[in-house]
């Protein structure tokens, strides 16, 4: 159907971004293809690989019993999106495709090294989530390509992800800054398996590569975490907007990153509930 209607068609999932864009005149598709009835895309399965269907709602991620312990960051990311009404409709796939720089679950999925599967008239392909989002509202998906699912390997034991969203209020808020960190400690007490992903501070969620380089293989002292946070603040390219100034965003990154690293390590150590 998408191939038939070409560029004049958009997929409608939860509609919590698309309908608003249409109402504001930002998008004007001639046709909407309602994909919500595709129930087979709404499931979540948890094993050595975790698969989240593109139509899984944020509410279903938030309430999934398996996302406690080292994957708790998925719940933390999902539960701060909008409010209950939004979370009952908004889908993870839609959130990725909408490509807001401030997307909440995306940094967590990036830190989990997730891949997305996409279906088009020419077939199925898989690509890393890291690099799929190109800028505000833009992804590497081709016209008519349908995101069908997101998958990641369960992090090895001793590695966890944590997430923090900074904003002016606790609900119905778009992040001023959000941070996802994946980390563990090796046998020597040194940081390993390290991802630092920053959201709302660049045209798309970004890895703080110089912060990662400073932290990897080092022992996580307070001084090192502070220095890495400074580096991360320099790694990002925030703008001034109604929610926060660029300067304040850098300040938030600098102050909050050590906290998120420590939380990831604590979660890694605590492990998963039996």
């Amino acid at each position: 159907m998408a191939a038939h209607y070409g560029c004049g068609a958009r997929y409608l999932a939860g509609g919590t971004d698309l309908i608003i864009h249409m109402r504001r005149g930002k998008l004007a598709p001639e046709h909407l293809i309602d994909i919500r009835p595709l129930a087979e895309l709404s499931g979540i399965s948890v094993g050595p690989t975790v698969e989240i269907g593109a139509l899984a709602t944020h509410a279903s991620v938030e309430h999934h019993p398996a996302f406690q312990g080292r994957l708790r960051a998925l719940v933390d990311g999902a539960r701060v999106v909008g409010g209950p009404q939004i979370r009952n409709m908004a889908t993870v796939g839609g959130n990725i495709a909408n490509a807001s720089p401030a997307a909440d679950v995306v940094p967590v999925l990036m830190a989990l090294d997730a891949t997305v599967s996409c279906l088009s008239a020419t077939g199925l392909r898989s690509l890393p989530l890291d690099g799929l989002i190109l800028g505000p509202g833009r992804t590497g998906l081709a016209h008519g390509e349908l995101l069908t699912g997101i998958a990641f390997a369960m992090p090895p034991e001793g590695v966890a992800v944590s997430f923090l969203k900074a904003g002016r209020r606790r609900a119905m808020e778009i992040a001023s800054v959000n941070i996802a960190v994946r980390a563990g400690l090796d046998g020597d007490g040194r940081l390993c398996d390290l991802w630092v992903v920053l959201g709302a501070v660049a045209p798309c969620p970004v890895r703080a590569t110089s912060a990662e380089a400073m932290l990897l293989d080092q022992r996580p002292s307070d001084d090192l975490l502070r220095a890495a946070a400074c580096a991360a603040a320099r790694d990002c390219a925030p703008i001034d907007d109604v929610r926060a100034s660029a300067e304040y965003r850098r300040h938030l990154v600098e102050r909050l990153l050590p906290r998120v690293v420590r939380a990831a390590l604590a979660s890694a150590q605590a492990g998963d509930p039996r």
Partner: protein, 163 residues
């Protein structure tokens, strides 16, 4: 754009109507079906006064197309009724606790609260606050709304346990 036939199940009744595909559920409820208890405000999913229950889950009617809701059970504020025919305990509690000032957010608040209590009959105040976080109130400061929801939960639990 030409109209399509839509069949919507609202508060237990099925309504057959013709509407253009771009019409929101909110607009159809209010303008076609006269169910004006569900309010209209931001039309962006930010204020929650348009909240309805869709298959038991609280959602913003302004962000749903009416055509998407065929085959689903919709409950609006008009559909809340005690099995005995009187007011729903939530409605009574809101009045008794002074939780209503201008009244505009109240249908949204009650629907959100009903969605909560249907799944979690004994929520803490913190959980209540999270459940109503998608409905904005400019008048009350939320305190009495939370108290009313908690009181309704108690009342409903007692009634259930008493049976």
């Amino acid at each position: 754009m030409s109209k399509v036939l839509i069949s919507l199940t609202i508060n237990g009744e099925t309504h057959e109507l013709a509407a253009e595909p771009h019409r929101s559920l909110l607009s159809v409820l209010r303008d076609d079906l006269g169910l004006t208890g569900t309010k209209q405000n931001c039309l962006e999913g930010e204020c929650g006064v348009c909240s309805v229950l869709l298959d038991g889950k609280v959602v913003n009617a302004c962000l749903l197309l009416a055509v998407q809701c065929e085959g689903s059970r919709i409950v609006t504020i008009e559909g809340l009724e005690d099995p005995d025919g009187g007011l729903h305990p939530l409605q009574t509690a809101f009045m008794q606790h002074g939780a209503v000032q201008c009244g505009y957010c109240i249908p949204g608040m009650i629907i959100a609260a009903k969605g909560l209590l249907d799944g979690d009959p004994r929520p803490t105040d913190a959980v209540i606050r999270e459940a109503i976080a998608g409905v904005l109130c400019r008048c009350t400061g939320y305190q009495k709304i939370v108290a009313a929801v908690a009181a309704a939960a108690d009342q409903m639990s007692q009634k259930r346990d008493g049976q």
